[in-house]
């Protein structure tokens, strides 16, 4: 039996005005377990707290009930008081007789009556309380960043800057991501390469950062502070540490007709290739699907020309195991496929392109060396039609596109239109829009400049149909302001395709037990207050994997994610919330129901050996809760039919004792 002390607070007249505090402390005196009961003007004051401490010593109290304001207000205060008096802080229960009693009831009699019942419930609960100690787990002081785009790069740099080692896993042969493919960036129009490549070099030169390029995460185990990750390093058939990136092999490779994915297939690369001049790491990679040597053992030219001897046709996929304290997801985005949008003739004409392809066409390092030429015949286009919202803002049941606004299209289309008019003033540029959405610093000004200074023709309306006819594209569109249907003979049509999370995100979320929304964007722990954390502890979100974002927003989120990671890695130990679920192995059936409802993946199953009454042993599958991961919601406790699963601090018996006390 506990020795409970009851402390009734007046809260000045806040409580005492509607509740007879004297009567309450008197009535609660005779409750089971209560050895001391008193009341005081302000329990939370220093004098009030001292009163509690003294009573603990004087009466050897093992439990404390404070009848006062909401536990959301002062539970933490009184827990500290208890701890200072040498009691376990979780031996404190609060009866909320202010917010939920004196402030909502007018009549002294009813107020007092209810306060007594609330006090009884708290006493009934504290009688069943057990001292709780928060679990501690060590923190591996190393972070993993999955994805080497601008989001991953910025996060890694910021974490490394704070002195913690970081590994970047990038599935492509080089880091840089989408930003490396861009030409200029809005709203300042500085070139993407000029601001990105120095950062890539910083990453390469930073001692704290390791880059696993051409690699994927294949397995994740563990929990916050203690992730065990297996990284699959795909065979690139070139020894990374030996290759100097001279490019001699690339020049000699006879396989010249491999579509170049970096230029979105608009030109060709060799079977051995370096994606672009500033690639990091700058090493060659052999495409096993194109290389003759790897396919049928005939060729071997690259090995012969490589003076460094870096080519290794026998290289195998390598698996690396590493421990991490935190994981940052920065898997980014891709434009959606245009296959379902027949009306824009994307698959019928080479001159209907996506905006990302347009970026490559205008990029000095692109397939046309920066000259804006039509992919079909290499001629300069004179009339260009930009179509906004292709696949964005679609109704869910339309099944072609995405429900959300892709956010970046309005700005990059304004940029494309402006740059085109700037370089080629003889070009007619039309932009068909539904709404122009340009919130952001200097964004709307940028768009207005495109219209007012560069003469881009913005038309409120949509393109309904694009028909290739000869070497022109017949564009049929509506102009809603003029209430006219327009027919434009265009040379080039650029589609602002919606963006979607990278396909690797979904399997990764499964490995991480991190939640995702229906669009496969990662869910944040709180949409406003914890926007860079996943609900799964130790997993952080950076960039477009969480939702469409432009570069400034991505970089600031990347920094925010890094600061959260640093905050975690700076700790030597993690102190958990002791109010977590635990499973009674003797009663657990191993039925897996709890595992299915756990939002955090905190429950795993182990095979446990039990001694049977007849001295034999039996191995049974039982649930085991990881207290470092469990957040204490209690979903598992209700789904468990045998009652093996229970929640510390809110145990079945405790809540039932409260029910009984109230219903007496």
């Amino acid at each position: 039996m506990q020795r409970v002390g009851v402390f009734v607070c007046w809260c000045g007249s806040n409580i005492a005005g509607t509740v007879d505090v004297e009567a309450v402390s008197e009535a609660l005196k005779s409750e089971p377990g209560v050895v001391f009961s008193t009341n005081y003007q302000y329990m939370c004051s220093q004098a009030g707290q001292d009163m509690i401490k003294d009573a603990v010593k004087e009466h050897n109290l093992t439990g404390i009930v404070v009848c006062s304001c909401s536990p959301r207000m002062h539970e933490a205060t009184f827990r500290k008081t208890a701890a200072a008096a040498g009691l376990n802080p979780y031996m404190v229960e609060i009866a909320n007789i202010r917010e939920q009693c004196s402030w909502v009831h007018k009549d002294m009699l009813t107020g007092t009556e209810k306060a007594i019942i609330l006090g009884k419930a708290a006493i009934a609960k504290v009688n069943l309380n057990a001292p709780l100690t928060p679990g501690e787990s060590p923190v591996t002081k190393r972070a993993l960043v999955i994805g080497g785009g601008i989001a991953g790069i910025q996060t890694a740099l910021d974490i490394a800057d704070a002195g913690f080692p970081v590994d970047i896993v990038e599935k492509k042969p080089t880091i840089g991501g989408k930003m490396a493919q861009l030409d200029k960036t809005f709203p300042t129009l500085d070139c993407a390469a000029c601001i990105l490549t120095p950062k890539m070099v910083d990453v390469a030169q930073n001692e704290k950062i390791r880059i696993f390029s051409y690699s994927e995460v294949s397995e994740i185990k563990g929990f916050v502070g203690n992730f065990d990750v297996t990284i699959k390093k795909n065979a690139r058939f070139v020894k990374e540490d030996v290759c100097t990136g001279c490019g001699a092999c690339v020049e000699k490779c006879p396989m010249k007709k491999v579509p170049n994915e970096f230029n979105l297939g608009m030109d060709n690369r060799r079977a051995i290739y370096i994606p672009f001049a500033q690639a990091v790491p700058k090493v060659a990679t052999i495409d096993p699907n194109a290389c003759n040597m790897l396919k049928n053992g005939k060729c071997g030219l690259c090995a012969r020309v490589c003076t460094a001897g870096a080519i290794d046709y026998t290289q195998k996929d390598e698996y690396i195991e590493e421990k991490y304290g935190a994981i940052v997801v920065a898997t980014g985005f891709n434009p959606i496929s245009m296959d379902k949008f027949d009306e824009f003739a994307y698959n019928q004409s080479k001159d209907v392109i996506t905006s990302l392809e347009f970026e490559r066409l205008t990029n000095a390092a692109g397939p046309t060396a920066g000259k804006l030429l039509r992919p079909s015949d290499g001629k300069h286009p004179h009339t260009i039609v930009f179509v906004q919202c292709v696949g964005s803002r679609c109704d869910a049941c339309a099944e072609k596109g995405k429900e959300y606004c892709s956010k970046i299209c309005c700005m990059y289309t304004a940029k494309h239109a402006m740059l085109t008019r700037d370089k080629y003033p003889d070009t007619e540029v039309y932009v068909f829009y539904i709404d122009v959405r340009t919130p952001g610093k200097n964004f709307d000004e940028f768009y207005r400049r495109a219209v007012e200074e560069y003469g881009v023709k913005y038309i409120k309306g949509m393109v309904g149909k694009v028909t290739p006819e000869g070497d022109v594209l017949k564009v049929q569109a509506s102009d809603l302001i003029a209430n006219k249907q327009l027919h434009i003979d265009a040379d080039l049509v650029v589609l602002a395709a919606a963006i979607e999370p990278d396909k690797s995100a979904r399997p990764l979320a499964t490995m991480l037990t991190a939640s995702m929304d229906t669009n496969d964007f990662f869910t944040e722990a709180h949409p406003k207050l914890r926007p860079v954390e996943s609900p799964t502890a130790g997993v952080f979100l950076s960039g477009a994997c969480q939702g469409p974002k432009d570069i400034p927003e991505t970089v600031s989120q990347a920094g925010a994610a890094a600061s959260k990671v640093i905050g975690l890695l700076a700790k030597d130990k993690l102190t958990g919330n002791p109010c977590v679920a635990h499973s009674n192995e003797l009663m657990c059936n191993g039925c897996s129901s709890c595992e299915r409802v756990c939002p955090y993946g905190a429950i795993t199953y182990i095979d446990k050996e039990f001694r049977m009454p007849d001295r034999t042993t039996k191995i049974r599958r039982v649930a085991s809760v990881n207290p470092a991961v469990c957040q204490g919601c209690g979903a598992c406790t209700v789904t468990c039919p045998s009652g093996a699963m229970d929640l510390n601090g809110f145990a079945n018996l405790q809540i039932m004792a409260e029910v009984d006390a109230i219903c007496k």
Partner: protein, 129 residues
């Protein structure tokens, strides 16, 4: 409910279309092959039904200019289905007493030898009660 409101509800019920899903992109009008023939264009149809302006639509020739090609339905990003609205308004118009668009007597003078009989039957279905 006044007549205007009644008509609006009736059209929405008959068509099964929710015009408030429209985001005013105008793709229906952009895609419409009969656009130039129409007094009220597909996007206006949606907008006018939404605001309850049915009377002008009922009296408009536009009703009979729609080819029912359903290009607007196919391409609407919001699944609004403008052609179904046109159809519902047209039904409302021809269901009125004596409002048949066409009677059997009208046919012989305009008949064309090359027109397949099936087309005539379906036109009749479309234009009469």
């Amino acid at each position: 409910m006044d007549n205007k409101e009644y008509l609006r509800e009736e059209i929405i019920r008959r068509s099964g279309v929710n015009p408030s899903k429209c985001m005013r992109c105008g793709k229906c009008s952009a895609t419409c092959p009969a656009y130039d023939e129409m007094e009220y264009h597909p996007h206006q149809f949606v907008n006018m039904v939404e605001s309850g302006d049915i009377e002008p639509l009922l009296n408009s020739e536009s009703l009979y200019k729609c080819l029912s090609c359903f290009a607007c339905i196919d391409r609407c990003p919001r699944n609004v289905e403008p052609a179904k609205l046109v159809e519902a308004v047209r039904l409302t118009a021809i269901r009125k007493q004596g409002a048949n668009r066409m009677t059997a007597d009208d046919v012989p003078p305009i008949i064309d030898e090359d027109v397949p009989p099936q087309l005539l039957v379906s036109a009749f279905r479309k234009y009469t009660k």
